[in-house]
Amino acid sequence: MFEIVERSEMAQGTIISNWLRAPKIAKKALPGQFVILRANEKGERIPLTVADTDPERGLINIIYMVVGKSTALFKTLQVGQGYMDVIGPLGQPTHLEKVGKVVCVGGGTGIAVMHPIARGLRQVGNHVITIIGARSKDLLILEDKMRAVSDELLICTDDGTYGHKGFVTDMLKKVLTENKDVGLAVCIGPVPMMKFCCLMTKEFNVKTLVSLNPIMVDGTGMCGCCRVRVGGEMKFACVDGPEFDGHAVDFDELTLRLRSYLAQEKLSYDQFKAAHGHNCACHT
């Protein structure tokens, strides 16, 4: 078992952070890589990006949003309990190089994915401008951690309850207009956000990385479930990615494939909620 040693809730309990004991992974994981977790014998294999590591204590940090049965089940796991399997690190690490000025755009739990990447980009000498956003103030995560790894931090909320009112794309446009020397953009968040960020950076002709989250099974390139179209070619996000050139990604196809199991996911989640009660915090 991979034991949870620290657990916290964010964004009104919709986003959960776990620090897990996984010494081998903690030693190996690099920014941009992910792990696959399975809560128990009957569980699905869920890919989650490694949000942080503490190699000395042998810990890794995962941060996830509760969106269905599997993540709701993860949420019930308390300190001292844990996951049956944690596999990784998987995927290609982020290629970290000095380009000068970099803009990092994170939305929702994408901010958690962004954190180690922004930190890595800054450590190699980049000037990092970070834009993070959420629907409203209560749902914004990791503001302090992102501030600590950024030269400039800009915050957006859709409803204007915190920072600038509006989408991260609006802020991205402003940053790109004011900073003609941005050499790289990294955009990580919900698919529509990444799609529109990429349309924006394309206008400014700024190279853009995105991190994709298609449905996966094995995570080793064996099943092809996570196939995405990049530059007209079939790529497997689990081994070729998860990061790709955002200007070449077919986001519409990704959106479509992410809906593969909506009906089954709803059935499974409804059944879970009926059995456990919504927002339960049972200590079994």
Binding site: I87, G88, L90, T220, G221, M222, S268
Partner: protein, 471 residues
């Protein structure tokens, strides 16, 4: 029949059929198809063996099981002795008895087969293994004294398990590394429950663990640890990672929801137990009209899985004719019995889908057979203007597998051929990288369980020589 009371000559006992579930019943459940021999049936079948002085059957076995010897022990009722005789050469008898293409191997060479049906060697091997699992005293075969040498086996499929089983008996320490969360490789993610129950694979793995083999699951060599890191901790490394790269048709519409690689379809259904969704959390599309593309064992497994998941129609769309189907005869027979519908001489052109992205059909082209190609089989040639559409909601692509590059590309010093497979000496499994051996599908390309086991045997002999004599 009873009128002619002639004492039957020895070879006149008919080949004993294994009782099995009726097709109309089994096509809707995931339970194993044959029930296995009773001790009486097994002894009767064993009596048919002529106990040849120079047995041909044994030459057909890639791991050289002492076939007449174990059959004689079954005949004598010494079932425990029979399994111990098999174990001398084969650590996975319950698996081999079920999935080997015996008609091309041991049974294909049995002299009885010249005039009559060959001895049911596979069924008998299965019986001996099952009897041991259910009633045996679990006495382990003797192990050589410890040598202090350590071997890492990457991949717990049939070749890796064979290497582990051989080397542990020779006194070496063996650790198997498996990327998935269960041991067995293709035996657990690929071959369906109704053909090879997972419990049997786990029991074979458990036998190896009782012998002292360590199995580390959920460990992706290349990512969790590299081969070079393993070489620092182990005296020798065996790579038996399988082919493991799905091949798609490369036609338009492969992104539609409901289009699967066979690897994904079978992994979801087998390893993740999606057939038991939502009791298990992993879903799979339960199509009503399912088309499988390909004609091998994996295609048959997929088509039969589709029926069990509730398909009204399960089609096999294959570009050649029935005579060229590469699947094992028993699998084709079982698929036909269960109602799988074959569309021969048909080649897919594109998938069709609706605006929500769900698969709705496939457009195919009719083919005819032309001159034989490099494989010796007649080459399918398209008939112009013969396009036709089939309404389907699920498609499973089972046209083979390629070389998964995850481990090979991250291992410097390993020579690969132009298709990405590891170059290894066919006699010994030695790769171009010192102290590293390889075998099974990652060397040969997708083949059978027993060929992978045969490669494992050759490599384990070579590894043992190296660990003992230094060459």
């Amino acid at each position: 029949m009873s009128e002619e009371v002639k004492a039957p000559k020895k070879e006149k006992i008919p080949r004993q059929q294994m009782p099995e579930q009726l097709p109309e019943v089994r096509r809707r459940n995931f339970d194993e198809v044959p029930f296995g021999y009773t001790p009486e049936l097994a002894r009767k079948e064993a009596e048919r063996c002529l106990q040849c002085k120079d047995p041909r059957c044994r030459q057909g076995c890639p791991v050289e099981v002492e076939i007449p010897a174990f059959i004689r022990l079954i005949k004598e009722g010494d079932f425990e002795g029979a399994i111990r005789k098999i174990w001398e050469k084969n650590a996975l008898p319950a698996v081999c008895g079920r999935v080997c293409p015996q008609e091309n191997q041991c049974e294909g060479l049995c002299v009885l087969g010249k005039k009559d049906q060959p001895v049911a060697i596979g069924n008998l091997e299965r019986f001996a293994a099952d009897y041991q699992r259910l009633h045996g005293r679990s006495i382990l075969p003797p192990k050589a004294p410890p040598t202090g040498k350590k071997v890492a086996v990457v991949g717990s499929g049939p070749s890796g398990l064979t290497v582990a089983g051989d080397l542990i008996l020779k006194g070496h320490e063996v650790t198997i590394f498996e990327a998935l969360h269960a041991p067995g490789g293709v035996l657990v993610y690929g071959i369906p429950e109704f053909r090879l129950p997972k419990e049997i694979v786990f029991s074979e793995c458990n036998y190896l663990e009782r012998l002292g083999v360590k199995i580390e699951l959920s460990t992706v060599i290349a990512r969790s640890e590299t081969v070079d890191e393993l070489l620092a901790r182990f005296d020798a490394v065996y790579l038996g990672v399988g082919a493991g790269l799905p091949i798609f048709l490369k036609i338009p519409g492969e992104h539609f929801i409901g289009v699967y690689s066979a690897n994904e379809y079978l992994t979801r259904s087998n390893l993740m137990k999606a057939y038991d969704f939502p009791q298990y959390d992993t879903p799979v599309v339960r199509g009503k009209k399912v088309a499988i593309f390909g004609g091998g064992n994996v295609a048959m497994d997929s088509a039969r899985t589709a029926l069990r998941l509730g398909a009204e129609h399960s089609y096999i769309i294959y570009r050649r004719s029935r005579a060229e189907l590469p699947a094992r005869a028993a699998e084709i027979h079982h698929a036909e019995e269960e109602g799988v519908e074959f569309m021969f001489l048909s080649n897919p052109l594109r998938f069709l889908g609706n605006k929500d992205g769900f698969l709705t059909g496939v457009e195919c082209l009719r083919m005819e057979l032309g001159e034989p190609d490099a494989s010796g089989r007649r080459r399918p040639v398209p008939i112009p203007g013969s396009e036709f559409q089939v309404e389907i909601d699920t498609a499973v692509i089972a046209i083979g597998a390629g070389a998964n590059p995850l481990l090979t590309r991250s291992t410097p010093g390993l020579a690969l051929n132009k298709r990405g497979y590891i170059v290894a000496d066919p006699k010994t499994g030695k790769t171009m990288k010192p102290r590293v051996w390889a075998g099974g599908d990652i060397v040969t390309g997708a083949a059978t369980v027993i060929l992978a086991m045969g490669a494992g045997r050759q490599a384990s002999n070579s590894i043992h020589d190296y660990l003992t004599f230094g060459w």
